[in-house]
C-alpha cells in the first residue's frame, strides 16, 4: 500500500471529523462487513452547504476520502456538491491505490446520500433511485468488477 502524502495528511489530520447536531442532511453508506462505513452530516442553508462533518469506520483511504469529500463540498451549492465525483475526490488526494478507489466511490455516495436525505426531508426529491447498484448498498460497490 502506497498512499500519497496528501492521503496520509488527511488520514492523520482529518478535517471535519465529528457530528453536526440537528444536521439538515445525514448520509451513511457501507457496512462493517465490507470494512468501511462513512457517515456524513451536512448543514445546509439556502441550498448551500455551510458545514460538513463525518464519522468513518474504515481504512486509511476511507478516512482520507471522507475528509477530502467534506472539504470539497463545504461552501458549495447542493447542485455543485452532487457533481463532485469520486475521481475528483481521488485526484484532490493526489491519487489512490487502485484497490482503494472504492473508498472514493463510497465518499461520493455518502455525500449524495446526505443530500438525498436533505432533499427528502424538504420535499425536494423528485426521482427515486431504485437501482440497487446506485450506491445505497455498499457490497455492490465493493464488488464492482472494474475495481478488482
Amino acid at each position: 500500500m502506497q498512499y500519497s502524502e496528501k492521503v496520509m495528511d488527511h488520514f492523520m489530520n482529518p478535517r471535519n471529523v465529528g457530528i453536526i447536531e440537528n444536521a439538515d442532511g445525514i448520509g451513511q453508506v457501507g457496512n462493517p462487513q465490507c470494512g468501511d462505513i462513512m457517515k456524513i452530516y451536512l448543514k445546509i442553508e439556502e441550498s448551500i452547504i455551510i458545514d460538513a462533518k463525518f464519522k468513518t469506520f474504515g481504512c486509511g483511504a476511507a478516512v482520507a476520502t471522507s475528509s477530502m469529500a467534506t472539504e470539497l463540498v463545504k461552501g458549495r451549492t447542493i447542485e455543485e456538491a452532487l457533481k463532485v465525483t469520486n475521481a475528483a475526490v481521488a485526484e484532490a488526494l493526489d491519487g489512490l491505490p487502485p484497490i482503494k478507489m472504492h473508498c472514493s466511490i463510497l465518499a461520493e455516495e455518502a455525500v449524495k446520500a446526505a443530500i438525498d436525505s436533505y432533499k427528502e426531508k424538504n420535499g425536494l426529491l423528485v426521482e427515486k433511485c431504485d437501482n440497487n447498484a446506485c450506491g445505497k448498498n455498499c457490497c455492490n460497490i465493493h464488488h464492482l468488477e472494474k475495481f478488482k
Binding site: M1, Y3, Q28, N31, G35, C59, H142
Partner: protein
C-alpha cells in the same frame, strides 16, 4: 515524526542476521562457480551446500538426503502437495487439510480440486485447533495426503502435529506440515512426530528471502514441480542458489541453538502484551489459543475500528505491525482464518497482529502499551459505530 523504530511483524519476514549475511557473502562475487561444474571454483560452493543440508537435517531430525532446497516456502508447499497428489493419484484422490492454512496450501488445494482431486477442509474450533479425531473421521479409503500446518501465521495456534502424524503413519497416508511459521520457534522432530513432508522458509527465521526447503522422507512417492537439470539429486532443477542455501543453513542453526531460552523470552513479551492490552483497552478480543500458541504471536480484534487504520497510526509512531485483514494482502476480504475461528466479518476487520522477535525487549512493549490505547481511542472517536457505545451499549455483533 518519530525516531523510534520497533518491528513487531516477524511473522511477515525478519531481518537477516549479520552472521547469516557474512556466511553468504563469499558466494556472491568471489566463489560464484556453478556447483555442478567440476573445476575448483565450484567446489567450495558444492561443499557449502552439503554442509547447509546437513544443518537443516540435523535441526529437523531427518537425514541429509531427505532435505531439498527450494526457492521459497510457497514452492515447498506447492511441491509437497501437488507432487504427492500427482504421484499417488492412482491410489486415491482425496486430500485432507484445514480451513486455516496459508494460501500457499489452500490455493494449491483449490487448484487440485479443479483438476479432479477431492479436498476436505477441516473446520477448527474457536481457538483455531483441529483435533486428531476430526482428522481421523475425515479419512476415507481414497485419502492419499493429510496437510496440516504446524503453527498458524495469523493467530499462532499450534496444532497437535505428533498425534496427527501418528495416526496418518498408522494408516499409510502421507502427512505434510507447513512449518514455515514454526521452524526456529518451536522444537520439531520429523522422526518423532511421524512427519513425511515439511516445508520451511528462510526469511522467517532471520535468513534470506527466496529460499526454502522441503523435507521429504525417504520413500515418499512424489513427482517434481520444477523439471530440468539434475540438481538436488534430480528432484528440483535449477542452478543452486548457493549464497541463499548457505544463509538458510546458518540461519536455521542460529535460530534453533537456544530455542528454549529464546522462546521463554518471547513468551514473556507476548503474555505481558496480551494481559496489559486487555486490561487497558475495552472491547477487545484475543484471537487464537491461549497456550498452544507461537511464543511471539499476539492477535487482537478491536471492536468499532478497522485494522489498516491502526497499522498506519502505529507506523507513524514507529511501530511496524500487521493485520489479518484486507489491506495488506491486496484483497478486500476479511481474513479466512479469523472467519474460520468464528470471528464476525466486522470484527475481523479490526484485527491487529503483533509478532515479536529476537531483537524485541520489554521496553518495546512499554512503548507499545503507551501508544496503542490512544490510537484505538482516537479511531473509535472517529467511528460511527462507536457513537454512544461508552454509555453501556457494549457491542454491535461479536
Amino acid at each position: 515524526m518519530n525516531n523510534r523504530f520497533i518491528y513487531l511483524d516477524h511473522a511477515a519476514t525478519t531481518a537477516m542476521r549479520p552472521e547469516v549475511f557474512e556466511a553468504m557473502q563469499p558466494y556472491f562475487i568471489e566463489k560464484y562457480g556453478n556447483p555442478s561444474s567440476i573445476y575448483s571454483l565450484a567446489r567450495d560452493g558444492k561443499k557449502a551446500i552439503e554442509e547447509s543440508r546437513d544443518k537443516v537435517a540435523g535441526v529437523l531430525g531427518g537425514r541429509s538426503d531427505e532435505i531439498f532446497f527450494t526457492g521459497s516456502g510457497t514452492e515447498a508447499d506447492n511441491w509437497a502437495i501437488k507432487g504427492v497428489a500427482y504421484a499417488n493419484k492412482f491410489k486415491g484422490n482425496h486430500i485432507i487439510t484445514t480451513s486455516i492454512e496459508h494460501h500457499a496450501v489452500l490455493n494449491t488445494c483449490q487448484y487440485l480440486e479443479s483438476d479432479g482431486f477431492e479436498v476436505t477442509y477441516l473446520p477448527v474450533d474457536e481457538n483455531g485447533l483441529v483435533t486428531p479425531e476430526q482428522v481421523e473421521k475425515a479419512i476415507k479409503p481414497n485419502t492419499i495426503l493429510i496437510s496440516i500446518m504446524f503453527a498458524n501465521n495469523e493467530i499462532g495456534t499450534i496444532q497437535p502435529i505428533s498425534e496427527i502424524g501418528k495416526l496418518a503413519r498408522e494408516r499409510g497416508i502421507y502427512f505434510h506440515t507447513d512449518a514455515v511459521q514454526a521452524v526456529g520457534n518451536v522444537p520439531i522432530n520429523v522422526a518423532d512426530m511421524n512427519i513425511d513432508l515439511l516445508s520451511l522458509s528462510g526469511h522467517k527465521f532471520y535468513g534470506p528471502k527466496g529460499i526454502g526447503s522441503l523435507y521429504i522422507r525417504k520413500g515418499v512417492k512424489i513427482t517434481s514441480l520444477l523439471h530440468g537439470g539434475s540438481q538436488e539429486r534430480g528432484r528440483r532443477a535449477s542452478t543452486e542458489n548457493v549464497s541463499a542455501i548457505v544463509g538458510l543453513g546458518k540461519a536455521i542453526e542460529l535460530a534453533t541453538r537456544n530455542i528454549e531460552e529464546q522462546s521463554k523470552k518471547l513468551i514473556a513479551l507476548r503474555d505481558r502484551t496480551i494481559e496489559e492490552v486487555m486490561r487497558k483497552i475495552p472491547y477487545v478480543k484475543l484471537n487464537g489459543h491461549m497456550m498452544q500458541r507461537l511464543p511471539g504471536n499476539v492477535n487482537f480484534a478491536f471492536e468499532f475500528i478497522e485494522g489498516e487504520s491502526v497499522l498506519l497510526m502505529l507506523d507513524m509512531k514507529g511501530i511496524a505491525a500487521s493485520t489479518g485483514s484486507a489491506c495488506t494482502s491486496g484483497s478486500l476480504d476479511p481474513s479466512h482464518i479469523l472467519l474460520a475461528i468464528g470471528v464476525s466479518p466486522e470484527l475481523a476487520n479490526g484485527s491487529l497482529r503483533l509478532t515479536f522477535g529476537e531483537e524485541n525487549t520489554q521496553e518495546d512493549v512499554d512503548y507499545l502499551l503507551e501508544v496503542l490505547p490512544a490510537i484505538v481511542e482516537r479511531l473509535r472517536e472517529m467511528s460511527p459505530l462507536y457513537e454512544g457505545v461508552e454509555g453501556g451499549n457494549k457491542s454491535y455483533a461479536v
